[in-house]
Subunit: 206 residues, 2 copies
Amino acid sequence: MSDHLETLPRDQPAKQIGILLFEGVEELDAMGPWEVLSHWTQEYPEDEWQVALVSLDGRPVAGAKGAILTPHEALPRVLDAIVVPGGAGTRPLMRDEPLLARLREFHATGTLVTSVCTGALVLAVAGLLQGRPATTYHACFDELIAAEPTVLPRRDARWVDDGDIVTSAGVSAGIDMSLHLVRRLAGESRAVQVKRGIEYDPEPPI
Amino acid sequence: MSDHLETLPRDQPAKQIGILLFEGVEELDAMGPWEVLSHWTQEYPEDEWQVALVSLDGRPVAGAKGAILTPHEALPRVLDAIVVPGGAGTRPLMRDEPLLARLREFHATGTLVTSVCTGALVLAVAGLLQGRPATTYHACFDELIAAEPTVLPRRDARWVDDGDIVTSAGVSAGIDMSLHLVRRLAGESRAVQVKRGIEYDPEPPI
């Protein structure tokens, strides 16, 4: 056992990541991060992180493209990190005051708040992107700026790590952001292992 | 309306793609192709293709990493194309004679048969890879060759298009293969549109 592990408190529970499911969530926005983060946490439990799919009420949702996705549980009161995916269903979320309050509470109590694609719009109306650099789906920067005029749009970024808030570009960018999160939370060699595990050596054919 | 569309039979139903779900399916193996193919077929219905998630009995399945995935229907008798994902759950499928017979029947009747990751092992034991070039998950080529000694392993390929059978490498490679399928079935400009739609400009951080 390494010195590092010796210094970990023995009774500390694993840290928890929640990936938020909601009606109209874009499927890959959620399931890309799920694959990366669940591969990491399940193959390497010694890192002491866990990930779950969560929905507001714990019930299944229909994704933007019509796949039914079932959460493991309702959104818990406490999370160490949350992933807010995008999709057409983010627009109703932007008017969901209880959810916006929960996101503000998560952020205020130290939860690492992250988004994929138009999930950034939800963070914006929650007030979490004031004066912050952020990215979103390429076609939605006007909406992002309308939601938060002081945001610093990063149109060419695949993801933007601004410390306690991390945003990523559209849909498939959640995979890249999630690998970045693994690197940030568990180190580069672990991220390399996870990348190999999901064989992420992309070759877009066009 | 273009001359090309004028020549299409007016009463021809849309062609059908099924993505096979099963207990222990690797989540991204199925949901990567789902995102690509559902984006294509739903945004461009004029191409007259449709895609559905299917399971053997139409019931939900638990993925390899523990996400519950719900199919739209049971595996139909007729499909124009089928995607067989990988995952730990492929090993029981390799002993599922009724499924293997169905795959042989699909292939024999003109269905385009494709696989992601260890889905190729199922194609192999079904006898569909005899003397064929194919790829699979990087760690599973020995299993592939054991299942079909005459297969021509393509260890460095992201995907292998051998006409009526297309195989892809591990997990995330299903996204690349699916974009290739869009290009093959609907043309390069459509594939470029779908790639942009899911913002697939990957930047692995490590």
